[in-house]
């Protein structure tokens, strides 16, 4: 009989206000299964502001501090300082922010938190656009994607710039631990959360959270699409510990990116040439990741 590796205890309850098939909802559920309840969470403006339900209700059995959009990293430093000053030394300080709140408007506060070596776990759940405000492009939106601010029209082919490499930015701060996680791979997800929990210092988790309404795919395909993101090398799973890279899922033959793209309405306009260019970008990034891993 297979051993159940996902903790049974739930700290997130039914009744959340996310969309059907929301990757970000699953991401929080797994995170809290891995961390337990002795946490304080800084939560800026993001989808989870809404998913977590309005006053006076909450869907989570933990303490959440809502904070301003661009302040997650700084709020974490304040929480850590206060927890230490008040003798709550065992509490895990968590920041939980979206890709816009992290890679764009919150980048300075994230950099500050990492550089200050704040003892805490920063989680960026990445749905690759400003989804809470209605699908506007962010720095984390991939090249080619349709969004409401990167339309597909006579003079526009979706987003014309590549996705920002947030893990590269984080790695440049020498974090105690950094990893990519995907809600479609729960065992790998929990393993990394639990590993992060037991490390001291600044930790960063980059979580892929597929978004059915924003990416234009049916909610029931969320996990299948999430698996394709990793298995096509679009979103590789790896960790950085003590500066060393380790890829945690490697297929002998990755799936072509075309399979991943064709499931999503946001890429429906792409020509075979554009798909080929996208494949070349994925291959180049994968090669670079293998080289980083080989550095040991």
């Amino acid at each position: 009989m297979a051993r159940l590796t996902i903790p049974e205890r739930e700290l997130m309850h039914s009744g959340h206000a996310g969309c059907p098939g929301c990757g970000a909802a699953l991401a929080m559920r797994y995170l809290l299964k891995g961390l337990g309840e002795d946490v304080v969470v800084a939560l800026p403006a993001c989808c989870w502001t809404v998913i977590g339900t309005p006053f006076p209700t909450t869907v989570l059995d933990v303490g959440i501090l809502d904070t301003a959009f661009e302040t997650t990293g700084a709020a974490m430093s304040g929480l850590r300082a206060a927890a230490d000053a008040l003798g709550m030394t065992d509490v895990t300080v968590v920041g939980w922010a979206g890709d816009g709140g992290t890679a764009d408007i919150g980048l300075q506060a994230l950099s500050g938190m990492l550089e200050r070596r704040t003892d805490g776990i920063y989680v960026m759940y990445d749905n690759e656009a400003y989804m809470n405000t209605g699908i506007q492009r962010s720095g984390a939106t991939p090249e080619g994607a349709w969004t409401t601010t990167t339309p597909v029209a006579a003079k526009s082919r979706g987003k014309s710039e590549p996705k920002k490499d947030i893990m590269g930015i984080v790695a440049a701060h020498y974090p105690a631990y950094a990893a990519t996680l995907n809600v479609a791979f729960p065992e790998d997800y929990l393993k990394k959360v639990q590993k992060a929990r037991d490390i001291k210092g600044p930790r960063f988790l980059h979580v892929l959270a597929p978004c059915p309404p924003g990416w234009r795919f049916p909610p029931e395909k969320m996990v299948a699409l999430g698996r394709l993101a990793t298995d096509s090398n679009v979103f590789p799973l790896y960790e950085i510990e003590g500066g060393k890279y380790k890829i945690t899922r490697k297929l002998g033959t990755p799936k072509p990116i075309a399979e991943y793209l064709k499931l999503q309405g946001r890429f429906a306009h792409m020509t075979p040439e554009e798909v080929a260019a996208s494949q070349a970008g994925v291959d180049a990034r994968w090669k670079r990741l293998l080289a980083l891993e080989a550095l040991g």
Binding site: T58, L65, D66, A75, A82
Partner: protein
């Protein structure tokens, strides 16, 4: 009690230390820097047992202070000018989150043109953020006001943040004798903060979550009620402080020789020192003039203002900042408080001392004489150069 010769900025730092501040998060800006340098020295030498978060901006300083305060830590920061303006979003957040942070402010003008010198544009621009605002005249007032500010801000009937402002250089960098209370005195005055009731590990709660139109207004009203209770809590705190230290700076708007005055000038910050000496000189010449000093700008001291206005026919308000398209903020507030009173004095506005321009005794003499002789209602800019002489340095 120890008497020491210290700067206004050091008075801020000593107060933060004596208050047993638990978390400091701060970012440097001239002329606030010596506050946070002194605190760094206190922490590094073990004289102050605080977590000191060296943030990468003022915005992050205030964000860190809010989260630290929300978890229940006694929290202090300091800023000035552009830095205070960068915090603006989070100043609203601090009062809405009922975080009783105390912040020292070195009052400095706002660019452009770039200026590191004093006026009140930075703090006046924050008057609607829900912070208690106090202005100090001396190093002694700084240290005493910061300690009182902690007690008022953390009082369960208030739970609002407070800023204690001091004029750039005139006070921040001027060394003068200051009575520093003993740790025992401060411990008696300022007990440890009560634990946070709304946010802590293990408590399933969201602190500061979004609220629909059905309740948002009620939360705004709660902040308003906290501010409405400040005058009473402030008075009680100052009385208690006086019992312990023997010092009381005279409430939110102390007055000087106003009893039989024909004209009174209302000032904020260090301007009061020069103005007071001019009052004495003019009194010797038989001119019945007096002085009022606004120590607490928020909440605006309406009863004190009305009491002053009830006995005096001519009041001049000196604003060390200007609200473009209206008049100076203190003037507007003073005139508004007098409207509806049985006795309505002339309330004139003098704008002076912007961007560090010295406020000299002749300027105060000019203001008093103008006030005694002229009924004109428009704003008077005092000391303005009509044809500025500019020297180009080669």
């Amino acid at each position: 009690m120890v008497q020491a010769v210290i700067s206004g900025n050091y008075a801020q730092a000593y107060a933060a230390k004596l208050a047993r501040t638990q978390v400091v998060a701060a970012y440097p800006i001239t002329p606030q820097t010596t506050i946070i340098e002194k605190i760094a020295e206190f922490v590094a030498s073990g004289q102050m047992d605080a977590q000191y978060v060296k943030v990468e901006s003022e915005h992050s300083a205030m964000a860190a202070c809010i989260s630290a305060s929300a978890l229940g830590a006694r929290t202090y920061t300091a800023s000035s000018s552009q830095g205070l303006l960068l915090m603006h979003e989070l100043l609203h957040w601090a009062s809405g989150a009922r975080a009783p942070i105390v912040m020292g402010i070195a009052n400095r003008s706002v660019a452009p043109p770039l200026s590191i010198w004093t006026d009140h544009k930075d703090t006046i621009s924050q008057r609607d953020t829900g912070w208690i605002q106090m202005y100090a005249e001396s190093g002694q007032e700084v240290i005493d006001s910061v300690l009182v500010a902690f007690r008022v801000a953390e009082h369960e009937d208030v739970l609002l943040p407070a800023m204690v402002a001091e004029d750039a250089f005139y006070l921040t960098h001027t060394y003068e004798p200051v009575d520093i209370p003993t740790q025992d005195q401060v411990d008696r005055f300022l007990p440890p903060r009560k634990p946070s009731s709304g946010f802590r590990p293990g408590l399933a709660n969201r602190y500061g979550t979004f609220i629909g139109p059905e309740l948002h207004m009620e939360f705004q009203r709660k902040v308003a009620e906290g501010m409405e209770r400040v005058p009473r809590v402030f008075r009680e705190a100052e009385e208690e402080y006086e019992r312990i230290t023997g010092r009381n700076h005279g409430g939110p708007m102390p007055t000087y020789r106003t009893e039989d005055a024909d004209a009174v000038l209302v000032t904020m910050g260090t301007a009061a020192t020069t103005a007071r000496s001019v009052v004495d000189v003019l009194r010797k010449h038989g001119k019945k003039v007096g002085l009022a000093k606004i120590r607490v700008f928020r909440p605006w001291p309406v009863p004190e203002v009305r009491a002053l206005g009830a006995d005096v026919d001519r009041i001049g308000v000196l604003d060390r900042s200007f609200t473009f398209g209206a008049s100076g903020a203190a003037h507007t507030e003073f005139a508004a408080a007098m409207y509806g009173s049985p006795h309505r004095p002339l309330v004139r506005d003098f704008v002076a001392g912007l961007g560090g321009r010295d406020l000299t005794p002749p300027m105060f003499t000019q203001m008093f004489e103008s006030l005694l002789s002229s009924e004109k209602e428009e704003v008077s800019w005092v000391g303005l150069k009509r044809r500025p002489e500019v020297t180009v340095r080669g």
